[in-house]
């Protein structure tokens, strides 16, 4: 088992990676599909007091109480409107489930590690420490996120501080 996983890890690093791409406003983003648990439409959430505006609240995902983060609010891109096309991507990160609100989900793309360019220091809404790289696909530039780092960051305040420390 261990060996197989190690091989799989290596092949991910050097050969081919799958990314789920989505849009926030006019920008195209991608995140590691292995972190995605499911994609669903936006449903009304239960508001949480004393939380920053980008944390929309919590909802019931088959018995789990899951927080929902609106990335558009957090990073000031696009307009935070909620309609039947608004999408929530449920992520599975560090044994936790977190939903992120995006404008639309576009595609699943295969990416060679060699195709990924290093991220620029500026020019996107995200702090560059949360970026994995840039990938040109069909004349579009897709911004690949290090979603694990972003979600567990203190900046988002999704997890208690000690939990973040534990999870490295």
């Amino acid at each position: 088992m261990n060996n197989q996983q190690a091989v799989a890890q290596m092949s991910q690093d050097t050969v081919s990676l799958e990314y789920l791409t989505f849009t926030l406003g006019d920008e195209h983003y991608g995140l590691d599909i292995m972190k995605v648990r499911e994609i669903r439409g936006y449903e009304p959430v239960t508001k949480i007091a004393n939380a920053p505006a980008f944390i929309k609240g919590v909802l019931n995902l088959r018995g789990d109480i899951v927080p929902i983060v609106d990335l558009r609010l957090k990073f000031n891109v696009g307009e935070a409107s909620y309609n039947e096309f608004t999408i929530v991507i449920m992520l599975h990160i560090n044994e936790r489930i977190v939903g992120i609100v995006v404008d639309a989900v576009s595609d699943v793309i295969n990416m060679q590690a060699t195709d990924i360019k290093p991220p620029p220091e500026f020019g996107v809404a995200f702090d560059s420490q949360y970026l994995y790289g840039l990938a040109p696909v069909n004349e579009q530039m897709i911004i690949l996120l290090n979603i694990e780092k972003l979600i567990s960051s203190q900046e988002l305040g999704l997890f208690d501080n000690n939990a973040v420390a534990l999870e490295g």
Partner: protein, 683 residues
């Protein structure tokens, strides 16, 4: 390879703990004067399993100790070794040492070899034949007595008598198996034994034939003095516990033909052998029950519990949709839905019952605690356990151990008096301690009852005064008893190592409250006291009141709610910046839930909403909400699992329509009240 082995450590350690528990349990039940072979075998097997497993993982310290223990039990079951109360004490302390060693292995630290050596040395001393001069006598083997010895198990009485009168079927509680042996068939003897064995659960249906008694009591001490008594015989026996002497007088047994006993008559041996077999049949049953259980990771069960919770919610959604339909199809759908509802409910109950364990898991450790402690305190205590079969959530079981241990220690230390004092008070020297569990409705009641001196009202009040604990004026008994649960309170005249460090009852109370339970005390001076823990059936469900503020639902735990009022304008007063409710001359500071939860209320005026009066352990306040929805049971879900702690919120739950409602934490809402200086004077 070592990596591969380590993954089994957890299982081995868990199993070994079970084996140790079993050993301890059996040792406590073992009658030193006539040990039961089947029980000796069980103890031997437990020791052997630990030794075998330790060998596999090279846990040398465990091997060393268990090896000597194994030798002792091996010789004992061959009848070459005689038990005594001291031997059992020694073995019990060896069990304790094994526990310590196991703990150090489970924490991957080095075992304490000094401990191992003392334990081994002690056990070797026990095994030393020099201190057991009777061993040789036994080894010679008196064919007549071996089956007898087997049959007369610890606390398992056997019907037969020196007068060779054995009567089957007629079981008049204590005595009465007397009929000429000539008439007795093997079946009758079997029947009699079974009847007696059923009785023996009660503990006191105690019969001992004279031959037997003479054998078990005197053979090992004197070797050959057991044929002498022909007249009335006074027999004194220990059942199962050295601290529990029971004397049985058999003066009234008619002794017709002593000669039958004197001569080794083959028929008797045959009958007794039959008895032994019958007995083994009875013993076999619990073991087969053990074998039919499997070990399951609790996480798997929890995920099943969650899934079923989801099923219940989906089910209620289906019901909502079904209600919208009309016509014949709708009729059929309703039928199917009600069927589904029944099945889901049964499924839910079934899954919840997997998490349930009998209270005996907790209770079984107390015979040992009581035995050790009563010896140390020079008190005579008879422990009775009732309702060990009552089932309770596994999560609660583990958290009950500490509070219960504390209550039991308290009762032994402060409650039950010394034998001399008891005698002076016209009470039996033997104190009674009862551990009881019972289920009433949706609650489990666990009580620790003693017939000791009861709580001393004056001493408690004096102590409270001494420790500057606030006492209400003219306190009722109930209020006085509550005082002992204040922090820093201990009435023990001297601080002992048993109890009385003053960190006790408040911790007990806090632990019980954290399980959603309550501790109630009743006491009668001179007659004893009762500590009753009341717990919900399971941790996962809470009785709550659902309320609405600004279109959002919240749940308030019902235990915190005193009443709800719709205030008149005249009842609302203002003290500084704080609005208070004047209700029957008490002032309740008002907390606005919409402010705490940052939602837009229907109205900001308190007289247009509803005030829910809430009491916590720290304070009382009135919570302003828009409206009350209703009372219901809710399943508690953790917010922290995927998010984080939220101030003022204890958890969340899922409502019938699938939406999430937050469960309010009255204690942390109360902190907001305390923060306000103005209010403080009024609380």
């Amino acid at each position: 390879m070592s990596m591969d082995m380590s993954q089994f450590h957890g299982v081995f350690i868990e199993e070994s703990h079970e084996h140790l528990d079993e050993m301890e349990h059996l040792l406590l039940a073992l009658d030193p004067s006539s040990p039961d072979l089947e029980e000796l075998n069980s103890i031997f097997r437990a020791a052997h399993s630990i030794k075998g497993g330790s060998g596999m993982f090279a846990f040398d310290a465990l091997i060393t100790v268990t090896h000597v223990m194994e030798n002792i039990f091996d010789r004992a079951r061959q009848g070459k070794f005689q038990f005594s109360a001291q031997v059992i004490d020694g073995l019990l302390s060896a069990v304790d040492i094994l526990r310590t060693l196991l703990k150090s292995y489970s924490e991957a630290t080095d075992p304490d070899w000094a401990l191992v050596n003392t334990a081994t040395a002690d056990l070797e001393l026990i095994l030393d034949p020099a201190s057991q001069p009777e061993v040789e006598n036994k080894a010679q083997g008196y064919g007549f007595f071996v089956p007898l010895n087997l049959a007369s198990s610890s606390s398992k009485p056997l019907a037969s008598s020196i007068s060779v009168e054995v009567e089957a079927g007629e079981n008049d509680e204590d005595f009465g198996f007397f009929e000429p042996l000539a008439n007795t068939t093997e079946e009758q003897v079997e029947g009699a034994t079974t009847a007696v064995e059923n009785d023996s659960d009660e503990g006191f249906g105690f019969f001992e034939p004279i031959a037997n008694a003479a054998e078990s009591d005197h053979v090992d001490d004197e070797g050959f003095g057991f044929f002498a008594p022909l007249g009335p015989v006074e027999v004194k026996l220990d059942i199962s516990d050295a601290s529990n002497p029971v004397s049985v007088s058999v003066n009234d047994i008619p002794i017709n033909s002593p000669a039958a006993v004197m001569s080794e008559q083959p028929p008797i041996t045959a009958k007794l052998a039959a008895v032994t077999f019958a007995k083994e049949d009875v013993k076999a049953k619990p073991e087969s029950a053990e074998a039919s259980s499997i070990r399951v990771d609790i996480a798997k069960i929890d995920s099943l519990v969650n899934l079923v919770g989801e099923l219940v919610i989906t089910q209620s959604m289906l019901n909502l949709i079904g209600d919208e339909l009309t016509g014949p199809t709708a009729e059929r759908l309703h039928g199917a839905l009600s069927e589904l509802e029944r099945n889901t409910r049964e499924l839910q109950e079934g899954i919840m019952s997997i998490r349930m364990l009998p209270m005996s898991f907790v209770f079984n450790r107390f015979p040992r605690v009581v035995r050790d402690l009563s010896k140390k305190l020079h008190k005579k205590v008879d422990l009775r356990i009732q309702g060990g079969q009552t089932e309770i959530d596994k999560g609660l079981i583990e958290r009950l151990v500490d509070p219960l241990t504390h209550l039991v220690r308290n009762s032994l230390d402060h409650g039950i008096e010394l034998p001399e004092i008891r005698a002076a008070r016209d009470k039996p020297e033997m104190g009674q301690l009862i551990l009881k569990a019972e289920q009433k409705g949706g609650n489990i009641f666990i009580s620790v009852l003693d017939d000791g001196g009861g709580l001393n009202r004056d001493r408690i009040l004096a102590k409270a005064d001494e420790n500057h604990i606030d006492v209400p004026e003219n306190p009722t008994d109930q209020q006085v008893w509550q005082l002992i649960m204040s922090a820093g309170f201990s009435t023990a005249a001297e601080v002992t190592d048993v109890s009385g460090r003053g960190v006790g009852m408040d911790v007990v109370k806090r632990n019980i409250e954290s399980m959603g339970g309550r501790l109630e005390i009743e006491s009668q001076a001179g007659f004893g006291s009762s500590f009753q823990i009341r717990l919900p059936l399971t941790l996962a469900i809470l009785d709550g009141m659902s309320i609405a503020v600004g279109g959002q639902m919240f749940i308030i735990p019902l235990v915190n709610i005193i009443e709800s009022v719709q205030p008149a304008v005249s009842q609302l007063k203002r003290i500084g910046n704080q609005q208070v409710l004047d209700l029957r001359d008490a002032y309740w500071p008002i907390v606005r839930l919409h402010q705490v939860m940052e939602v837009e209320p229907k109205s900001d005026h308190a007289n247009e909403g509803i005030l829910v009066l809430i009491e916590t352990s720290k304070t009382r306040f009135a919570l302003l909400v828009d409206e009350l929805i209703g009372q219901q049971q809710v399943v508690i879900k953790s917010l922290e699992q995927h998010y984080r702690r939220v101030p003022g919120v204890a958890g969340a739950t899922i409502m019938g329509d699938g939406s999430v409602a937050l469960i309010l934490d009255a204690e942390s809402l109360a902190l907001r009240v305390e923060e306000s200086e103005v209010v403080k004077e009024w609380v």
